[in-house]
């Protein structure tokens, strides 16, 4: 008896009892759909993070910062006070430059920035809102902007605390009203708090909405009204803002070289700073966080979540399987006479067994497929909801967010496998019972 014939019979039997079949499948549908939902979200989240990080700085981006030693016990916490950051403890620009020199072969960029707030730049030609940012060399690496004229902020600018700046092409066009090269032009930004900031333009970068994402990424804002970043040397801004050596740098970015092993660079960086500045320091130590291990944490959370959901799904599959077995036993009983007739016509035990086993497998598989469909639907919807929440509440990173909705293919395949396995495991006993009926007893069954 061809297999395809059994499949037809199975669908016929399921169609005859549509509601009953659906109710039977429910356990399997719930189990499978929850697994597919969670794996779709998890997989999408992973892929989104991975491609977003790649967009940001690849997997080589790290953060360096100084951290106090936090107490371990509750009693210690009660007595604990945040220790004072001394000149020795604080991260300074010079320390970073020393580090950069020491790691020149393994590190592509060491970047530190300081926001100075916004200013309104106004000339006869036009008017523009700008945000002033003190930046070390590496501005183009971190923000991934392209220079279209001149050069970016350099180490030398910082060393000299040079009054120079890098502006956007939009600024040149709309605020200065210039079409030609503005390099060398003097600009003065009136800031409320720090007075007038004077700088000479040394470079122009191409503005891209997603790079400096903020409200201005909103497409409804006319191009000429977009607020763009003006980058000045970090040290220049540091002085303008009235900071000195005792004011530590909170944190800085490190981009490991493309060929370098990011994990090794991270460990060596921590060792370097601890040895240089925090060897006998009881209050502070150096800490480095990398995207790759952050992602590892997220992956672990997702794994635990997936496992937990899988256990629940497993239970609902078992419950669903018992339901299938129950319905199959009823089905065999209802069709005892049919089984008798089939046997009278020459069906072997194996034919009858296959017929009912296939019916049970199809029932479970159908449940599995419906479950997968529902799960994918849920997963895609929830992934999109999550990403639009991010865009809404974390607008500053949303520009970098590369939303990727990717169902987990292995999870789908495993689900199909489990559905079939459930069908076999719970369908075998009823099918075998049908197969072993005596022909004459089955035929005379009332």
């Amino acid at each position: 008896m061809p297999f395809i014939e059994n499949i037809r019979l199975a669908f016929r039997a399921i169609r005859v009892n549509k509601l009953r079949s659906f109710l039977t499948m429910l356990g399997i549908i719930i189990g499978i759909s929850s697994v597919i939902t969670i794996t779709t979200i998890g997989n999408s989240l992973q892929k989104t993070i991975a491609s977003t990080m790649n967009e940001l700085a690849g997997n080589n981006l790290m953060y360096g910062m100084v951290q106090p030693y936090y107490p371990e016990t509750d009693e210690e916490w009660d007595a604990w006070e945040m220790p004072e950051l001394t000149e020795n403890d604080a991260l300074t620009y010079d320390k970073l430059i020393a580090y950069k020199k020491a790691f020149a072969d393994r590190v592509k960029a060491v970047f530190v920035e300081r926001d100075m707030g916004t200013a309104v730049y106004e000339t006869k030609a036009g008017k523009s809102n700008v945000s002033l940012k003190g930046a070390s060399a590496g501005f183009t690496d971190i923000y991934k902007v392209k220079m279209i004229a001149g050069r970016s902020i350099s180490d030398e600018d910082n060393e000299k605390k040079a009054p120079v700046c890098v502006v956007s092409d939009l600024f040149v066009k709309y605020a200065m009203g210039l079409e030609e090269n503005p390099i060398g032009k003097k600009v003065v930004f009136p800031t409320g708090e720090y007075g007038s900031v004077t700088a000479y333009i040394v470079g122009v970068y191409h503005y891209e909405a997603k790079v400096f994402n903020d409200v201005s990424s909103n497409k409804s804002i006319p191009e000429k009204n977009i607020q763009t970043v003006v980058a000045l040397p970090f040290t220049y801004v540091w002085d303008l803002m009235g900071f000195d050596e005792t004011d530590g740098i909170d944190f800085f970015n490190i981009v490991a070289g493309e060929q370098a092993d990011a994990v090794a660079v991270k460990n060596e960086t921590v060792a370097y700073f601890d040895k240089m500045y925090y060897a006998d320091n009881e209050n502070f130590h150096f800490e480095c966080q990398d995207m790759a291990s952050q992602m590892g944490i997220i992956n672990n959370v997702l794994l635990v979540l997936t496992l937990a959901v899988s256990v629940i799904a497993g239970i609902s599959l078992i419950v669903g399987g018992v339901g299938v077995m129950n319905i199959m036993l009823i089905s065999v009983m209802e069709r005892t006479r049919e089984i008798g007739v089939r046997k009278a016509l020459g069906a072997k035990n194996s034919h009858i067994r296959a017929q009912f086993l296939v019916e049970s497998i199809i029932l479970c598989l159908l449940g599995g497929v419906i479950g997968i469909a529902i799960g994918l639907f849920n997963g895609v919807i929830l992934s999109n909801v999550a990403s639009s929440l991010v865009s809404m509440y974390a607008a500053d990173v949303a520009g970098y967010l590369v939303v990727t909705v990717r169902p987990s293919i292995p999870a789908i395949l495993i689900s199909v496998g489990f559905s079939v396995a459930t069908g076999i495991a719970f369908g075998y006993y009823p099918a075998n019972r049908a197969a072993k009926l005596e022909p004459i007893d089955a035929l005379r069954y009332e």
Binding site: G346, A347, P439
Partner: protein
């Protein structure tokens, strides 16, 4: 050995063996229990190839029980049964399935068509179990449905057919694997006399034209008299024929 083929028939002739040869067939129920019941008390029966035999007797006399034994649906408690020279008692369940599939064509009083399955698919079923391909099945089933005058109704499900039509489909189904014997247990029992007549005519045609061996159980002496031989059973024993 496939007895329905010419070689099988020749072999029977050589062994000088009847198509059906039953010796001292006994059937008991509830064996070993206080209410043990003996239904057949040692039946000896021979049916020759090509015979049209009827079995008559009181209700409860054991006709169907005997018929089920002939059709390899049930095993006798005691006794020997040879079908086309083959010792049926020694066969496994699997082999009995094959015997039913290839050598026996059943026609039941209550038709026993598979529900929600079209007439033609019902007719094809024994060929499906015999592992014959779709095209050949269709061809033969169509041919047989036309023979019983049901060609037009091939795609109808049983619930769309009258009793007589159902029985004609059932006869086509019984014939599909060209069995050695047609076993019909009160095939006209659920039909009015006119439709019953039509069904009887089909049996006569099968017997006359195709030389089919037919064993017919009936309550009607009138119909029984149309057959070549009438066997009367009373209380589990053959009393006549």
């Amino acid at each position: 050995m496939d007895g329905s083929t010419t070689e099988g028939k020749i072999e029977n002739k050589i062994n000088n063996c009847s198509l059906i040869r039953m010796r001292h067939i006994v059937k008991r129920y509830y064996i070993g229990q206080p209410n043990e019941l003996e239904i057949l008390h040692g039946i000896d029966l021979d049916v020759e190839d090509g015979e049209f035999v009827s079995i008559v007797g009181e209700s409860g006399s054991g006709k169907s029980t005997l018929m089920n034994m002939i059709g390899a649906l049930d095993r006798p408690t005691e006794g020997e049964y040879f079908l086309e020279g083959e010792d049926v008692g020694s066969l496994s369940d699997e082999e009995l399935s094959e015997i039913r599939n290839r050598k026996i064509g059943f026609v039941f009083q209550n038709f026993c068509l598979i529900s929600r399955t079209s007439a033609i698919e019902n007719v094809e079923l024994p060929m499906l179990y015999a592992g014959i391909g779709k095209r050949e099945r269709r061809r033969r089933a169509t041919e047989l449905l036309e023979m019983v005058g049901m060609g037009e109704r091939a795609d109808h499900n049983p619930n769309e057919l009258s009793g007589g039509q159902k029985q004609r489909v059932a006869i086509a189904r019984a014939m599909i694997n060209d069995p050695a014997i047609i076993l019909a247990d009160e095939p006209t029992g659920a039909l009015d006399s006119k439709t019953g007549r039509m069904v009887m005519d089909i049996f006569h045609e099968l017997h006359d034209k195709q030389k089919k061996t037919i064993v017919l159980i009936t309550h009607s002496r009138e119909l029984a008299r149309e057959t070549e031989r009438m066997i009367t059973i009373a209380d589990g024993e053959i009393v006549d024929g």
